[in-house]
């Protein structure tokens, strides 16, 4: 199917085409229709082009499986091409909640296959609930490297807590996601913050307001823990913005850091267990305040203001940004921290 998709995209110019197993789907301009003779009807042009390709290579299809509409259910999720929403139906949402609840409350162990099934199911729901991804991080740790499908794997309190966290959010969710909140362009940012951490401390600053913030880190920090504090600094900046600015719902927040690891965990919401508390706290803040966050990379030598602040060198920061006002901040308290290894 992938090869067929490749031909469809590259040779038949159906550029906007996605493939999931043997399902192919995509959008089309509603006015762009083509007469498809075998079914004797007008179809979206891209769909007609694709069926013609299938006919050419003798790939069979049936009329009732070739569907279209402004609202269409694709891999179980209702997509509205004009309202730009993705919706999980109420029933699907209830079923997912009940499957997770069953997993966290009824037994102490499940077979690897059952773990994989739940992880797969939950993973599918992330199409609509992308911010709940941290709930899978400890699940994957539990099942990674195991391959006997009927062997039992014990559930632990961390996994229970993470899944219960997800259920808590799912229960309050309408199941409707605006696509524009999931993907947005940096040019439409409302707030921009620069972060940095070093062995001495954490610092962030907001250029638009000419203010900076500093916090020391525990003295016994080793170089591996620096990653933790780079990420904690981003989380602190997020919380700081919420507390001081009370941003309106749908605000778009851009945070720069020179740490690749931090960029990766915030954008994928995948991380090792020791960072998961940071991601869960960030997801909570974003869900509760209805904010959109992107974390981007900035080259270290361009991040000199945040760097100076993090080194407690406020005089240097003042040289770079005359008039900058620097105060202290206290990072949010997390249940999982660098101290717990």
């Amino acid at each position: 199917m992938l090869l067929v998709s490749w031909i469809a995209k590259k040779r038949r110019n159906i550029e906007l085409l996605a493939t999931y197993s043997d399902d192919s789907f995509g959008p089309e301009d509603a006015n762009n229709v083509t007469w498809y003779q075998p079914y004797r009807k007008f179809m979206p042009s891209n769909q007609a082009k694709m069926l013609q390709l299938w006919d050419e290579i003798n790939l069979p299809h049936k009329e009732k499986k070739q569907v279209s509409g402004s609202v269409l259910t694709i891999i179980g999720i209702e997509v509205d091409a004009n309202a730009l929403t993705m919706t999980m139906t109420h029933n699907s949402l209830r079923e997912l909640i009940s499957a997770i609840t069953n997993f966290t409350t009824n037994h102490h162990r499940f077979t690897l296959k059952e773990w994989q099934r739940l992880a797969g199911w939950f993973n599918w729901s992330l199409n609509v609930f992308p911010l709940l991804r941290p709930a899978l991080n400890n699940v994957y740790v539990k099942i990674s490297g195991k391959n006997a499908p009927n062997r039992n794997v014990r559930i632990n309190n961390t996994v229970r807590a993470d899944l219960a966290w997800a259920v808590n959010h799912l229960e309050q969710d309408s199941g409707i996601r605006l696509i524009q909140q999931i993907h947005w362009d940096v040019s439409s940012t409302d707030f921009t913050i620069y972060c940095d951490a070093c062995l001495e401390g954490m610092g962030f600053w907001i250029p638009d307001e000419c203010v900076g913030f500093y916090s020391p880190v525990p003295e016994q920090m080793d170089s591996e823990q620096i990653f933790y504090f780079e990420a904690l600094c981003v989380l602190s900046a997020l919380h700081h913005l919420i507390e001081t600015h009370d941003p309106r719902p749908s605000s778009r927040l851009l945070i720069y850091t020179d740490n690749d690891n931090t960029v990766a965990i915030f954008n994928t919401l995948r991380c090792l267990p020791r960072y998961n508390g940071i991601l869960i706290s960030a997801a909570d803040a974003l869900i509760n305040e209805k904010l959109n966050l992107r974390v981007l990379h900035i080259a270290g030598d361009l991040n000199f203001v945040a760097d100076a602040i993090s080194r407690n060198n406020f005089a240097l920061a003042e040289q770079y940004v005359p008039g900058i006002i620097i105060s202290s901040f206290t990072p949010p308290r997390l249940t999982l921290g660098a101290a717990q290894k």
Partner: protein
Amino acid sequence: MVTHQSAGTQSLNSMIPRDDIVGYPLDNLRHLGEFLLSMHHHNPDAPRILFKSDVAEAYRLLPVHPYWQIKQVNRIDGLLHVDRNSAFGG
């Protein structure tokens, strides 16, 4: 006909090295979301439509490994037929 592809210790499903298939990126709604936004960005007022197409009995079109084909020999009216394709789906 029933085929249990996870039966036994050397079953078809269990002989696939898991590392070869996990993490294989299937397209998901992320791509579709990006497609819709790019169309919206380009022309916000133009009505859009979605289509979905499904191959008929896709799994029955997939040939299986010759070593597995010898396990898919069906006797029908005294004649032996080798089923060369995946047995499920449709």
